[in-house]
Symmetry: C2
Subunit: 233 residues, 2 copies
């Protein structure tokens, strides 16, 4: 009844979560109002509010004004991923990072690329194909398109010395980022670049970014066999 310790919102969150876990509040159930929970826990309503906001963000409960708070019926697994700059990814594994520019051209992109960037017509864009190495071995091969309208400065950058990945991430923050992951079989060209066999299963990471409504870049990163994406610990 009387709490001797001061409760933090994280404590409240964990206690309420525990009640969901042990079935006190079952899926679909309505939880007490924040104010009542605050009384139960002997804390301020705003503390409960902060706790419930976090549970809502984690997909544990759903909250609606007037409708109250309910335990989600169909829980989803919600995970957070970090995709670092490739150089950092290599170096954080204790390997030596390397980089090779393969090709740099200016051309209108294929319709699929334009669609991904949500731009209507065909306009010249910068295409960069480059290889990231880990301890001298191919690690990630990236095939990138950069909007010259949104990022004209990139014409001046020596992309043989510095990867577009690094330059863009450091100099062109984005406000929106779409990611998708899928698997493909390596074609002959890709297999040659990644020094693997044709047909090998490769994980592909596609990333497209915008600033405001303007497209920055769309990149298809083909990873060497064995590459894994892990959730943030």
């Amino acid at each position: 009844m009387t709490e001797t310790v001061r409760l933090s919102w994280k404590t409240v969150r964990d206690r309420v979560h525990a009640r969901v876990l042990d079935g006190t509040y079952a899926p679909g159930d309505r939880l007490p109002r924040d104010e009542d929970l605050a009384e139960q826990f002997g804390c301020a309503r705003s503390t409960v509010q902060r706790a419930m906001q976090d549970l809502s963000l984690s997909g544990i409960v759903e909250r609606r004004r007037k409708g109250g708070t309910r335990v989600r019926r169909d829980p989803v697994t919600r995970a957070t991923l970090d995709i670092p700059i490739t150089r950092n990814e290599v170096e954080s594994r204790g390997a030596v990072y390397g980089y090779q520019l393969i090709e740099q051209t200016t051309a209108p992109p294929a319709p699929a690329i334009a669609a991904r960037l949500e731009i209507p017509g065909a306009e010249d864009m910068l295409r960069v194909r480059a290889l990231h190495l880990s301890d001298g071995r191919p690690f990630v091969f990236e095939d990138r398109w950069v909007s010259l309208r949104t990022v004209p400065e990139i014409r001046e950058i020596d992309l043989a010395a510095q990867s577009a990945n690094e330059w863009l991430v450091r100099n062109k923050p984005y406000t929106r980022c779409d990611l998708r992951f899928y698997a493909i079989n390596a074609d002959a060209d890709t297999a040659g670049i990644l020094e693997t066999d044709e047909g090998a299963a490769l994980m592909v990471i596609e990333r497209t970014t915008w600033i405001g409504g303007d497209p920055i870049t769309s990149v298809k990163a083909l990873t060497a066999p064995g590459y894994q994406i892990l959730t943030r610990s």
Copy 2:
């Protein structure tokens, strides 16, 4: 100077974010103290605090007591993924969901599985192999191990009628979840089950869950060719 409107913490967050984007605060720079920002924006310090907490969570800035708030030098792409129950995934695409139990046995798992679940010795576990269908076509083949020590009730469940995926997600909430994604070439067995060609590139989703410190399940979901994982919009 004088704000006529009331600022929400999200507004403050977006304004500070804009300053990072336009270079007012460059990577590595130290931002003003919360209290000074509050004065600039004409709001309470707690409003700024909430805003900065969110920017910190998004990986835009780093905050340290006494050290202040700094713009992260090496931004990471941080994304949130939702992995729904397979049935919901199929049905939300407007397809008809189907399910087939392929095999159900009790045996000690391979060392790799035990290691993933962080259990020391070999103990009997429930192994379930099952196929999820979308409009009658193979969609996801799951190879799952369930801890009979943590989840003894699952012995009583008819896993031919209800998928372990669904039963566990609905009845066994977890407190910790590890996910990993990678690509493999389908072996003959898998290709047969997924009705594809041997060697086809498949995306694999491995998910392992615990409640408290106790292992619940580890599942390897082999997805049919073409499967994509998208970030939450």
